[in-house]
């Protein structure tokens, strides 16, 4: 069985699944719109937590939150189910396919056989859509892939029941009801307001303050842990920042695209100007990644390079602080 489902590639998995599922249900929503209304832009440094043997930094909110916020703001209801056994999870998915419902799944990346080995880490917050089954193979639309792909029953069970932080427990989701009319303007305003609040939060580990905290850590890494470890940590920052459509520059460009689209919907030229500014900030994030990569590539060990990088991150945090203050003011009008 195969549901007539159109696959669109996206930069980030959760945005892509949300946008593809809503498009299937007749709501034409772009990836940036999902990201903006769902307030996907975020920054948090988690002290005491280690990921891949390095300090954990996240550039996105908890998995599932973007789609949840988006649907709440647009008045769409999503059904989410988790399962205690793989059998139940399989049965529910197949039931959905029989009823012609393309279904979103949260999966672990490590077991995804269509990814190259190098990409396969224990990361449980990936999203994809299943839109059919051919014999014993599921038809899969993974939004970060250019084309649709397939997974065997055995692999599907593995990725739906991967373990560790954010273990999916078979988590599946799909929209079930839609309002008669979508109030885009209200939803966009709410999304923007929330992003500003989060990025400007007074908490030291979140938003622009979180960036400054990380900058302070970078300065000390080399002396505290030695060059090798400091460089490894830096490489991890860049990985979390730019890998598979998450994080730094990539997210800023999606957000800038969102602001451009929003300026048309809200008829606010100011947002188009702010979109340009966000693009510039995205470029700064990219420069940061390039400069950091030079450090861990050449294994240069002057403590100066770490200070330079920290300064760059501080500069970005002040640019973003000024930016979100302007955006906050603009959206209040």
């Amino acid at each position: 069985m195969k549901i007539d489902f159109t696959h669109h590639q996206s930069a980030h998995c959760e945005n892509g699944v949300a946008s593809n599922l809503l498009k299937h249900n007749g709501i034409n929503i772009s990836e940036p719109m999902v990201f903006g209304i769902g307030a996907g832009l975020f920054f948090v440094y988690l002290p005491f937590v280690k990921a891949n043997h390095a300090p954990a930094i996240s550039y996105r909110p908890m998995p599932g939150i973007i789609f949840n916020r988006l649907s709440k703001r647009l008045g769409i209801k999503i059904k989410r189910v988790k399962f205690s056994t793989p059998e139940q999870a399989k049965k529910a998915l197949e039931e959905n396919l029989k009823n012609n419902i393309p279904t979103g799944l949260q999966v672990g990346v490590y077991g995804l056989t269509y990814f190259p080995d190098e990409y396969r880490f224990h990361f449980n917050a990936h999203n994809l859509v299943v839109f059919g089954k051919n014999g014993s193979e599921y038809l899969v639309s993974d939004p970060i892939m250019e084309m649709t792909t397939t997974l065997t029953e055995e692999t599907m069970e593995k990725v739906r029941f991967s373990k560790g932080i954010f273990a999916p427990k078979g988590h599946m989701y799909y929209p079930i009801s839609f309002p008669d009319q979508l109030n885009w303007e209200k939803a966009i305003r709410k999304g923007i307001k929330q992003t500003c609040t989060l990025m400007l939060a007074k908490a030291p580990i979140i938003g622009v303050r979180g960036m400054r905290l990380v900058a302070g850590k970078i300065r000390k890494w080399a002396d505290k842990y030695g060059t090798q470890k400091a460089n490894y940590y830096l490489a991890q920052i860049v990985r979390m920042q730019e890998e598979i459509g998450t994080g730094g520059g990539g997210f800023r460009f999606i957000y800038a695209a969102f602001l451009q689209e929003a300026s048309v919907v809200l008829k606010m030229d100011e947002l188009a100007i702010l979109s340009k500014e966000m693009t510039e900030i995205g470029d700064l994030w990219r420069d940061f990644a390039v400069d950091a990569s030079r450090v861990y590539k050449n294994r240069s060990n002057q403590s100066d390079v770490y200070n330079t990088l920290a300064d760059e991150l501080i500069e970005i945090s002040y640019r973003e602080e000024a930016f979100f203050k302007k955006l906050q003011k603009a959206i209040k009008k």
Binding site: K163, G164, I165, V238, S293
Partner: protein
Amino acid sequence: MKEDEVPQDKSYLTDSLIREMCYAVDKDGNYTTVVSEGWEPKDIALKNSIQLIKERTEEARIEFINGHLSPLVYFMEKNKMDVGILASYVGMWKWRVKRHFKPAVFKKLSHKTLSKYANAFDISVEEIITFKGEE
């Protein structure tokens, strides 16, 4: 980032199919999407990660040969896991898993416990107990 600035660094990942989509500005200042062939800073970061896992795996292999650690550590590193991830796969507390890293404790493990580890590593119990430290 402008359309023509989207990185197209052909990397060692290029032939493995993942070409990511990026948002970039076209010549009229409008946002559009471009598929990227890869980006060097990211690739080096990823290589750096893979290198660390290789080093940790090799270290665990040598420590096993020297009789300081059980083979579970080697298989854990090889599968890119840490103690927390392994513990959640086998459904045990972290301290118990860590205890099993001691060769003396490992020797006394039941077949049932070993099969939990075998499942987590996607290999057979035999492969774990007959492991001699070969690469």
